[in-house]
Amino acid sequence: MTDTSVAPLTGNSSSPAARMRTLGWLARRVGGGIFVLWMVATVIFFALRLIPGDPIDAILGGPGSQASAEAVEQIRSDYGLDQPLIVQYFLAMGKLAVADFGTSYALKVPVAPYVLTQLWSTLVLTIASLVAAWAFALGLTLATSGRGRAARSIGSGLELLAAAVPHFWLASLLIILLSNTLHWLPPISVPGPLGLVLPVLTLALPLTGFLGQVMRESLANAYEQPFVLSARARGESEWGVRLRHVLRHAALPGISLSGWAFGSLLSGAVVVETIFARPGLGRTLLSAVTIRDIPVVTAVALLSALTFILMTIATDAIDRIVDPRVTKVGEQ
């Protein structure tokens, strides 16, 4: 992902010095990312041991287990839980460093392949939601900006409403409206695109509100710029002005926001996957936290952090392409 976004950047750079700066930027981003991952792993490790509940319970079939002393002892040594905490920490970090995520306490299967299958489902959901939110936000702002006061107020009002709606409430509303009343869509996630519609709408609508609000403001600013006046003077049509000149400016804050937005979609996925009974990282995390399945929690947290970091690097890279001023400022 990073490679393809870097290529046009270096191509744009005019000098070896600029290329070095770009590589330096990339190195800082990657180094920072690794540091963040390590911190996430550390925080998760200690947080899960500070909260009440013994990981032994997860292995022995849930809390309230009445397993024998022999069983408990065997499990403790099998999983290295009889070691001092600090030893367990370094052992765990050592394994994570070589991407060994261990075996799930509850599912008894290797964590990495299991979590990766769940990641796919969540990526489909979140990326589809991000694309949908972008499409809705662009459509709404372009259609209502630069128009009369009434159109702007309606557009802005809709965005505020959408941004304020909590996921669980929106999900219930959509189920009642589109499934139980109109019978258009299944209330649970079924295989195929039809099952994706309600979960994506639930995640995309609040985000549409956020993106729309931000874009509307910069769009309004862009309309005041001299280049818009000169474009109009050249005889550019109203939609031509919007699409060819103003959009690029309006999209910038939206792009910067997309990294954060992706993170919020990942956390929104916990609610949406649970409500629509959709497989994915969010639901995996929820059930794993409940039963203290430490290897699964760690893997999901790291994978989410990694996805988030990659997404942020990607949006920054896109930002540099769409807005050359970003790199210029860096050069001064």
């Binding site: 292995i59 002393a69 189920i175």
Partner: protein, 544 residues
């Protein structure tokens, strides 16, 4: 389909339809069962980590394993033990030797024959620490020796007489699996355990569903089933839908056929929906009840315990919050337990009596917030609530109890937490009140919950006697009851035990452990197995 079956079906299903419809419905015309189709079941219980119910052993595992694993004995709707994989059994006079005669014509779905050796391997599997069994391990705890005398004859030698042995064997957690399959690695057996049941696991998509196909060679239905031979459905799809509102919406939209863990508001609105029916199948064992921790102050004083029970106004809360779907219980035991004794008079509400009792106990001063104090200390009660186990209606009920207890001067602090933190609070004795469900077949559950031995924590920290009731007289009665096989004597001992528990004000019963299924009217022949009230789809068919 053989000739006798075609004759039997309409009669049997008319009978079951009449039973399910209860007393309100007019007799329906007998329906001819149709074979085929896929039934979609949506569960709100957690997705099991392991489909082998020997490993760990919780209710979600019992729900699904009932479809593919069978037990030595079952229970009918009258609460009597009936033959299943075992046809007969005898107990020696000293109660230390049990002989079981087994069916000799049953095979596991991997082709391995079911025999005495298989039973032996299963009990040994439960006892093996590497299996990490919890529930099943307890159930076979008194079994010392297992002897496969003949292929159809197994003998158990016990360390002490166990009048609950048959009840224990009826539980899904002690179900019998193929010894060939058990030889595989645990992770493999967890994915695809092999039993003798009417369905076979064919696919498990994690976080989504488990697909089960019909066992075409099935011949081991329990006596109370409505037909013989293979199941009627081609397959079962077992979906995991954790959200209660979504589950109900999916039933309404026809995407699923049966749901469990139906919430009171949905059950109530389903009664006005002509396409949906309800099956109320309370779980056996203990009722849902609030335990009063007598192991520490202030509930180490019987007067304070009685005052709390007199103060807690439970019934109006149940009526309003559960929309008439749950009936107030006045028994420590589930209403499906024949040994249960209901004592409504012991649980009357009387705020004035409560105040007098507190005055007598020395809690006679009232602070500026309206709570009672003694020697400058406030009458405070900590009540950890597991949000995984207590449904929203139950949590609201606890809030109402909190309010009515405040009226006489108790400060009740509700602490909603997740399951692990909740157990954490119990294990460190940081609670005065707690509601902990316990499912087990038979009144022997009283021994597990209220014998003083159950205050000693298991290696995991768990202990079942959360009232911390320690009474040598009660211990003796419960031990005696667990060792006598005379049914009448056993019942009277359990009645005596219940009166000690109730009269000591250790427990505030609320209602049966709720277990409501909602299902589409196109589903026929669906019932809950009377053992632990798990659903069985052996007789079920789709009238679509």
């Amino acid at each position: 389909m053989s000739a006798p079956r075609t004759v039997l079906f309409p009669l049997a299903f008319a009978a079951s339809a009449a039973l399910l419809a209860g007393c309100t419905a007019a007799p329906e015309p007998a329906l001819e069962p149709v074979s085929g189709g896929t039934l979609v079941y949506a569960t709100g219980d957690a997705e099991p980590g392991c489909l082998d119910p020997h490993v760990g052993g919780n209710y979600p595992q019992a729900l699904i394993s009932t479809q593919y694993i069978e037990s030595l004995v079952s229970k009918n709707s009258d609460g009597e033990i009936i033959p299943w994989l075992a046809t007969e059994w005898t107990e020696s006079d000293d109660g230390l030797t049990w002989d079981f005669t087994l069916r000799d014509d049953v095979n596991f779905t991997d082709g391995t024959p079911f025999d005495a050796e298989a039973v032996k391997v299963n009990v040994e599997h439960l006892k093996d620490p590497a299996t990490a069994s919890s529930t099943g391990y307890l159930a076979v705890g008194k079994i010392d020796g297992i002897d496969a005398v003949e292929p159809d004859h197994v003998r158990f030698t016990l360390s002490a007489p166990d009048s609950a042995l048959l009840e224990s064997f009826s539980q899904p957690w002690v179900g019998i699996q193929s010894p060939t399959a058990l030889e595989r690695e645990q992770a493999v057996n967890c994915e695809s355990p092999v039993g003798t049941g009417p369905f076979v696991i064919s696919d498990w998509v994690k976080q989504q569903s488990i697909t089960l196909e019909r066992n075409e060679n099935y011949n081991s239905a329990p006596d109370d089933a409505q037909h013989t031979g293979p199941a009627l459905l081609d397959s079962l799809e077992w979906r995991f839908i954790p959200d209660a509102a979504t589950r109900y919406a999916a039933l309404q939209s026809g995407d699923v056929d049966v749901i469990d863990n139906a919430q009171p508001n949905n059950i109530s609105s389903a009664t006005s929906d002509s396409g949906i029916e309800e099956l109320n199948a309370p779980r056996p064992g203990a009722s849902n009840r609030i335990e009063l921790n007598s192991g520490k102050a202030p509930f180490d004083d019987i007067r304070v315990r009685e005052a709390f029970i007199r103060a807690a106004d439970v019934t109006p809360g149940i009526e309003s919050l559960f929309f008439g779907t749950a009936e107030r219980s006045f028994s420590v035991l589930s209403s499906v337990e024949p040994a249960g004794v209901s004592s409504p008079d012991a649980f009357t509400t009387d705020a004035d009596a409560a105040k007098t009792l507190l005055d007598d106990a020395g809690w006679d001063t009232i602070d500026s917030d309206g709570y009672r104090t003694k020697d400058g200390e406030r009458l405070s009660l900590v009540f950890p609530v597991s949000t995984n186990q207590s449904i929203p209606a139950e949590q609201s009920l606890f809030e109402q109890i909190q309010a009515s207890a405040k009226d006489v001067g108790f400060e009740v602090t509700l602490q909603p937490t997740d399951l692990s933190s909740w157990y954490g609070a119990l294990f460190t004795n940081e609670y005065n009140l707690v509601s902990a469900p316990y499912t087990k077949v038979g009144a022997d559950v009283l021994r597990i919950l209220y014998h003083s031995d159950s205050i000693i924590p298991a290696p995991s920290g768990y202990y079942a006697n959360l009232a911390q009731l320690s009474d040598p007289a009660l211990d003796q009665i419960l031990t005696e009851a667990s060792q006598t096989s005379n049914e009448a004597e056993r019942q009277s001992l359990y009645a005596e035990a219940q009166s000690i528990i109730v009269d000591g004000f250790y427990v505030l019963p609320l209602y049966d452990q709720q277990n409501h299924y909602l299902y589409s009217t196109s589903v026929e022949g669906f019932r809950a197995l009377p053992t632990v009230s798990a659903p069985t789809f052996y007789d079920a068919w789709l009238n679509k």
